[in-house]
């Protein structure tokens, strides 16, 4: 991906003409506190989950598998102009988003694939409901009809502007999410815009994952690591492309769709570094690191939506601490579960090719697998966990103690690479000012 000068010239021309046409007021250059420093939530909820058992792993393990790809997404969302209607000033935001995958080749990280999009986020339906008669923004709308993959492709190739109406949902049958009477709540308008940007970013991460699993010829022992809960991007798979719609729910997994699910879940893992949901019982052994770890494995029965660490069915949740050695050095860490990460391991990743893990009636006998060291499930789980622990060195360069405890170096580098592509807030605003 390159920041084509022509593309941004087109965008600037379209956006600035639009701002002029509707008589909007350009936004001031401010960074709101919640956008500059989001809260870090750690261990704030407990949930009942089935303890599958513990797997012992060495604290100085040899890597038996290969975490080959690392996927992440970043965004820059800023207010760009305001529309005044009935004496109410309504903020309109714009978000520059980038998602990409880095590949590790011979211990070196190299960019593999990335996409970006600049999207205008506007509560269009709510504005019209309030009597505003301005035209829709220029370009293509990212809405409930989906097909984001092709729409973002048009943006990348031709500089076609993108916008999304934050006043309606992205469900198959969209409903209003902001009423005309709610337009005065500018904080809510901004939050809806940021949430919409996050959804689009998840879709973009899924598009990147689609590219990786389709083109990278992944071997059985090679994995793709997604930054965040494994299932979160899949919730929006319909929006990416209709062909991926079945991936929205494991309930759709059937024999007919198994190959599609296998393509995405056989080699993909999720890494949650901000653990908010912890099981009721059983984490005690995580905090007793000696020569070997006892990694507890859980199965959450239901999908529990959450901002940062959504849990899902058909996924084993493994909890471990990457770097307990440095915890005493970090005085600012106060939570007992700080440094805890969760690895989301889908059933598909530990099953043999002839196992129909996606069938609703499938019940992996994980308990037997753990007590039987010769079983495939045990070997694969242990391999994934040992490889995950081996990834803890080096530590990414960071001023955040939390990141020093929980972030993988490769993920951090992927994020830096992507963040370097983003436009600065002033640059995004400049697109709306015009020449």
């Amino acid at each position: 991906m390159t920041h084509s000068l022509d593309r941004f010239r087109n965008l600037s021309s379209s956006f600035s003409q639009y701002v002029s046409r509707i008589g909007a007021t350009l936004a001031h250059i401010t960074t709101l506190p919640e956008e500059a420093a989001p809260d870090i939530r750690v261990g704030s909820r407990t949930l009942t989950a089935q303890l599958l058992g513990y797997i012992p792993i060495n604290t100085a393990p040899q890597a038996t598998l290969n975490f080959r790809f690392f996927i992440d997404g970043v965004q820059q969302t800023v207010p760009v102009f305001r529309i005044t209607i009935n004496g109410i000033s309504v903020p309109v935001m714009a978000s520059h988003l980038a998602a990409g995958a880095m590949e590790r080749r011979d211990s070196r990280l190299v960019p593999y694939y990335s996409i970006d999009a600049l999207v205008l986020l506007m509560p269009l339906t709510a504005l019209r409901a309030a009597g505003w008669q301005g035209p829709a923004p220029p370009g293509i709308q990212l809405d409930s009809t989906g097909n984001f993959c092709n729409k973002i492709g048009l943006y990348e190739q031709q500089g076609t502007p993108l916008y999304s109406d934050t006043g309606v949902t992205l469900e198959v049958f969209p409903t209003s999410s902001i009423s005309a009477s709610e337009l005065y709540a500018s904080g809510n308008i901004r939050r809806k815009a940021r949430d919409r940007a996050s959804v689009i970013l998840r879709v973009m991460e899924l598009i990147v994952l689609w590219r990786v699993v389709s083109h990278a010829n992944l071997a059985n022992d090679e994995f793709v690591l997604i930054d965040g809960p494994l299932f979160m991007p899949f919730r929006y798979s319909r929006l990416a492309d209709n062909a991926l719609a079945p991936l929205e729910s494991f309930n759709n997994a059937s024999t007919a769709n198994l190959s599609l699910f296998n393509r995405f879940f056989r080699n993909t893992l999720g890494l949650v570094k901000r653990v908010e949901i912890v099981p009721h019982l059983g984490l005690d052994r995580v905090f007793q690191a000696t020569g070997t770890y006892q990694v507890p494995l859980y199965l959450f029965q239901d999908v529990v939506p959450s901002a940062d660490d959504e849990v899902s069915s058909h996924t084993i949740s493994a909890f471990l601490r990457l770097r307990p050695e440095i915890l005493p050095e970090l005085q600012s860490i106060w939570s007992p579960v700080s440094g805890l990460i969760r690895l989301d391991i889908p059933f598909g990743a530990i099953s043999s090719p002839n196992e129909n893990w996606a069938d609703p009636g499938f019940q992996p006998n994980l308990h037997r697998a753990i007590t039987d060291p010769t079983s495939r499930h045990y070997r694969v789980l242990q391999g994934i966990l040992e490889t995950a622990l081996r990834e803890r060195w080096p530590i990414p360069e960071s001023e955040s103690p939390h990141r020093m405890l929980t972030e993988y170096y490769a993920i951090a580098e992927t994020e830096k690479w992507l963040r370097a592509m983003l436009l600065q807030p002033q640059q995004i605003r400049a697109l709306f000012i015009g020449p």
Partner: protein, 502 residues
């Protein structure tokens, strides 16, 4: 180019496996290389700063004309070589870079200052290389230039007449020299540098620069010279400033009365010898002791203490500078402007002399050159003077001993005199001497000196590599180029003389 390594957080330590560097990484940490670039030249000439995605490539040998393209060919004096190509580890092409003679020797010229730590900075080697470059330029352009080299350390500028007969023999010298140095790989480096110098027109063997030596009686190093001229200075050969410079230490503030006494005596008594001056002052002192109070010369009254102080100084000088002082006769055999050989090296031996004697010789010789260059009828138009340990003659302290050299430095460019001064610490040099040096050369330098001394500021980011420069590398700031340059130059051929080892 400047490479920096920085670790801004504690993760540098923890990142190595909690302090264990032997823990293998799954991912090798990314190394970001920040390269600071200085714009040396632009083609086409533009004034905008580098931006966007300008293409960057390594310089090549073909860029020589671009780098020095703004210097007319008849003005090019070889400065040294830029190493260009992919890596300094490989045998990369050497790209010649030049001084502009107008800014080095012409009417717009000032002086050259070379600084760096003794032993590692190769200051005198570079000064000599520059002298050969100047001679090659003078020979090619039919200029009348004489070079005066003050030899202050052992054999620095001795044996200059003993060059190999041809380049085959020179290569043999290089091999033997590298063997003695314990680093045979230096042979190829020196061969390439000298080959590049020859292609650029600086060939010491072909130039056959005549060498003339001036030394003092009983100099044990005279055997390393051919037909040396022996110099001595009588009182009549000197100016009061030169006598004063010899009598007092650089850090000394002589009493005004003593300086006045010396000036008055030398002004009153023409053609006196040192012996007679001593006798006359002793007579004055005796008259005072006989109770006749203060003594006068031309209505001026002198205190006994003043006279005694000057007598003590004279006796000290007689003792410390006996090799060069003609005590009995008024005149000796001073080094004169007319003796300087046009198109040749004129080496004046100072090694083995006391500080007092060195000051006397340097000041007297500079005055002779200055006066000679002012004559309408002269055999030389330009004199280049190489002075090592410049801090002895132009210290930072306020002292009358440096008056004469300051005058030479200030008026040099009008007179046709270029001073190539060298010293270990630039901070010990008078500010006006440095200020009049528009060409500044730095070899390996003391780190503290680099950070504290103003001379290094013109080198910008380059000054950070001054403490790690290798022998044969110099940073050069010359006004013909908009950026300082890191140049390479070869070891002087006479330094590789096998006779030195034996």
């Amino acid at each position: 180019m400047l490479y920096e390594s920085s670790g801004e957080s504690t993760t540098e330590f923890y990142g190595s496996g909690f302090g264990d560097p032997n823990i293998p990484y799954a991912t090798r940490p990314t190394i970001l290389r920040y390269v600071k670039l200085r714009v040396l030249v632009r083609e086409p000439s533009m004034r905008t700063p580098p931006e966007d995605r300008w293409r960057v490539r390594h310089a090549s040998i073909s860029d020589a004309d671009i780098i020095s393209g703004h210097i007319p060919s008849q003005n090019r004096i070889l400065m040294g070589f830029l190493q260009v190509g992919q890596s300094s580890l490989q045998s990369d092409p050497l790209c010649p870079v030049y001084y502009n003679s107008e800014l080095l020797l012409g009417l717009e010229a000032a002086h050259v200052n070379i600084t760096g730590v003794t032993g590692m900075a190769t200051k005198t080697s570079y000064a000599l290389f520059l002298c050969y470059s100047i001679m090659a330029w003078a020979r090619k352009n039919d200029k009348r230039v004489a070079i005066v080299l003050f030899n202050v350390k052992r054999e620095d500028f001795l044996r200059l007449h003993e060059l190999p007969a041809n380049w085959e023999e020179a290569h043999q010298w290089m091999e033997q020299w590298a063997k003695r140095a314990g680093n045979p790989s230096l042979v190829n480096v020196e061969k390439e540098l000298w080959e590049a110098a020859r292609q650029a027109g600086v060939d010491p063997i072909a130039l056959k620069v005549p060498v003339q030596y001036f030394t003092f009686q009983d100099d044990p190093y005279a055997r390393l010279m051919t037909n040396p001229n022996y110099y001595r200075y009588g009182l009549a050969d000197l100016k009061p400033e030169e006598v004063i410079a010899a009598l007092y230490r650089p850090d000394e503030s002589p009493a005004e009365q003593q300086l006045n006494l010396i000036h008055t005596y030398m002004g009153e008594i023409e053609g006196a010898s040192f012996q007679r001056m001593l006798h006359d002052l002793q007579n004055l002192r005796r008259a005072l002791q006989a109770g006749r109070g203060q003594q006068t010369t031309q209505q001026i009254q002198w205190h006994r203490e003043t006279i005694e102080a000057v007598i003590r100084r004279l006796l000290g000088l007689q003792h410390r500078a006996r090799q060069i002082i003609e005590w009995v006769q008024p005149a000796g055999r001073p080094v004169t402007f007319h003796q300087l050989q046009d198109g040749g090296f004129n080496v004046i031996q100072l090694y083995g002399l006391s500080e007092d004697a060195k000051k006397l010789v340097v000041n007297a010789a500079l005055r002779q050159i200055r006066d000679g260059l002012q004559q309408a009828q002269r055999h030389v138009d330009r004199v280049v003077v190489v002075v090592d340990e410049l801090n002895v003659y132009a210290p930072t302290s306020r002292s009358p001993i440096k008056d004469q050299i300051l005058d030479v430095v200030a008026r040099g460019r009008d007179l046709g005199l270029t001073l190539i001064g060298a010293e270990q610490f630039a901070s010990e040099i008078d500010g006006s001497v440095l200020g009049n040096s528009n060409t500044r050369v730095v070899g390996r330098s003391d780190a503290g000196e680099v950070s504290d001394t103003r001379i290094y500021r013109v080198f910008g980011g380059f000054r950070e590599i001054a403490p790690i420069l290798q022998k044969g590398q110099m940073l050069v700031y010359h006004p013909a180029h908009i950026s300082p340059l890191l140049i390479h130059f070869p070891v002087p051929l006479h330094r590789m003389n096998p006779a030195i080892g034996s």
